[in-house]
């Protein structure tokens, strides 16, 4: 029963929602409206599940004294502080906004800006033209990299001013993004879309059952 009910519900909702996309009838559209509303109501529970999982993970880390377990207390301190202010007063409260602007924003920005240092170091060590394909990738990346900033065109217009066209760095970047990149991306989108369709059919027909804890 535990397995049959989800399978039947999945089949019913899958087929009905699929049908509503092809039928403009008011009855079909009212079903669509209602189901989308249900889905919207269910969405916040994902946040609740996420929070519970976060708490569980860090409680286990503290209990087992895993490496850097002390930092889990920082997680709880942050969580409790934001909840203690956000829940009764709302996110508009100046204290909540202050904490967000002065703790969350600089911390998050710092973490992200570290990437610039790591990427520079990694590019120096790992980006090598070992094969023909790697060379193509390397040249494209270098053109996009320099075409992405105004200094690229400045260098082009100064050093290569004898060439018949201006702003070559940004033009070349635009061409790479708009032609080879576009073609490859479109291929990926089509492939992924076909995969999603086949997976949806497998779910609706009950062939794919991993979401209820079983194998194929």
């Amino acid at each position: 029963m535990k397995r049959q009910v989800p399978l039947v519900l999945c089949f019913l909702f899958g087929v009905v929602m699929c049908f509503t996309q092809f039928s403009p009838h008011s009855f079909s559209q009212s079903i669509y409206d209602e189901v989308v509303y249900w889905a919207l109501i269910m969405s916040p529970f994902a946040l609740a599940v996420g929070t519970i999982t976060l708490i569980q993970t860090h409680v286990i880390r503290i209990r087992r004294r895993t490496e850097h377990w002390q930092y889990s207390f920082v997680v709880f301190a942050g969580l409790l502080t934001m909840v203690a202010i956000g829940l009764p007063f709302g996110p508009q409260h100046p204290a909540f906004a202050w904490l967000f602007n002065n703790v969350q924003v600089p911390l998050d920005a710092t973490m992200f800006s570290l990437l610039a240092f790591l990427i520079a170091s990694a590019a120096f060590r790992a980006f090598r033209a070992r094969t023909f394909e790697a060379s193509l990738l390397l040249i494209s990346a270098m053109i996009v990299l320099i075409g992405n900033v105004p200094v690229g065109d400045l260098i082009w217009n100064t050093v290569l001013s004898w060439l018949p066209w201006d702003n070559g760095a940004s033009e070349a970047r635009q061409w790479i993004l708009g032609n080879p990149n576009l073609s490859a991306r479109r291929g990926i989108i089509l492939g992924v879309s076909l995969g999603v369709i086949s997976q949806a059919i497998r779910l609706i027909l009950g062939i794919e059952r991993s979401y209820i804890g079983g194998g194929d």
């Binding site: 996110p91 920005a109 090598r128 900033v149 200094v151 991306r185």
Partner: protein
């Protein structure tokens, strides 16, 4: 010498990167900015809207992407308020409400725009595509109140706005995959015009949608922000950011070239 260069301490590179950021911050470069076609397309679309039109801006990014996307939001908001285009702000990202609210309020105060008449910020709702789909039926059924807890029925600019039919453009400012969702669910199902401003790392993903005109236009990272600032004639943090990023790009390019030259010399010697 060569092996020393190949095994260069990463801290030396870190110092170079730090200097490449700090020096142009202290001594601004003011490099010339050329506006690319995808950014120009967004500007032209908004510029052609008559006064009283409505744009929805979805602030789908967190603090980590704030330096790239906030300048875009600021420039577009300035353009909208200047053209008397009404703005509905919202977000699908839990971290964004405070930053989006702060930004809209700041630009609105500067432009003398009135909350509830010229703009409204609806806040955050979880659910991603469910939120998008449901707003196609009724925005009021997803956001009953705005961010300041005023019921939508009491907000004058929302009185004639029920769903996407009354919205002229949705601009998604994104650091993740939300633009794909807006295109799939809102452009695909409701034929709504979508534009995007995205971080540099996901720009390449957006080009297929630009070609098919599923995207009206695209602002690519810092570059897009600086281009839009140039178009409205207010160079600010986007312009400063792209000027600061320029030396770092040149540095990385230089490091890659040096790394490859050394690699080829070493390989030739080994052969």
């Amino acid at each position: 010498m060569l092996s020393k260069l190949m095994n260069l301490d990463r801290r030396v590179i870190f110092i170079f990167v730090a200097l490449a950021v700090i020096i142009p911050t202290l001594l601004p470069l003011n490099l010339p900015i050329n506006v690319s076609e995808p950014t120009q397309r967004i500007y032209d679309y908004i510029d052609a809207l008559p006064a009283g039109s409505t744009i929805m801006i979805s602030f789908d990014y967190g603090p980590s992407s704030l330096p790239e996307l906030n300048p875009m939001a600021k420039a577009v908001l300035r353009h909208c308020f200047d053209k008397d285009v009404r703005v509905i702000g919202m977000t699908l990202y839990a971290f964004a409400p405070t930053l989006a609210d702060t930004l809209i309020t700041e630009v609105a105060e500067e432009a003398d725009a009135v909350n509830g008449e010229d703009y409204v910020f609806l806040g955050f709702r979880p659910g991603g595509e469910q939120v998008m789909l449901r707003m196609g039926i009724s925005i009021g059924s997803v956001f009953e109140k705005d961010y300041t807890n005023t019921p939508l029925t009491e907000i004058s600019m929302m009185k004639d706005i029920t769903n996407y039919d009354q919205i002229d453009l949705i601009l998604d400012l994104a650091s993740g995959s939300t633009t794909d969702l807006w295109i799939t669910y809102v452009n695909g199902k409701y034929n709504q015009q979508i534009a995007a401003g995205v971080t540099g790392v996901i720009v390449s993903n957006m080009y297929p949608y630009l070609q098919t005109k599923q995207l009206v236009g695209l602002m690519p990272g810092y570059l897009g922000a600086s281009e839009y600032e140039k178009l409205i004639g207010v160079p600010e943090k986007g312009t400063q950011g792209i000027n600061n990023a320029s030396p770092v790009h040149v540095l990385i390019l230089g490091l890659v070239i040096i790394g490859n030259i050394v690699f080829f010399i070493q390989r030739r010697r080994e052969e």
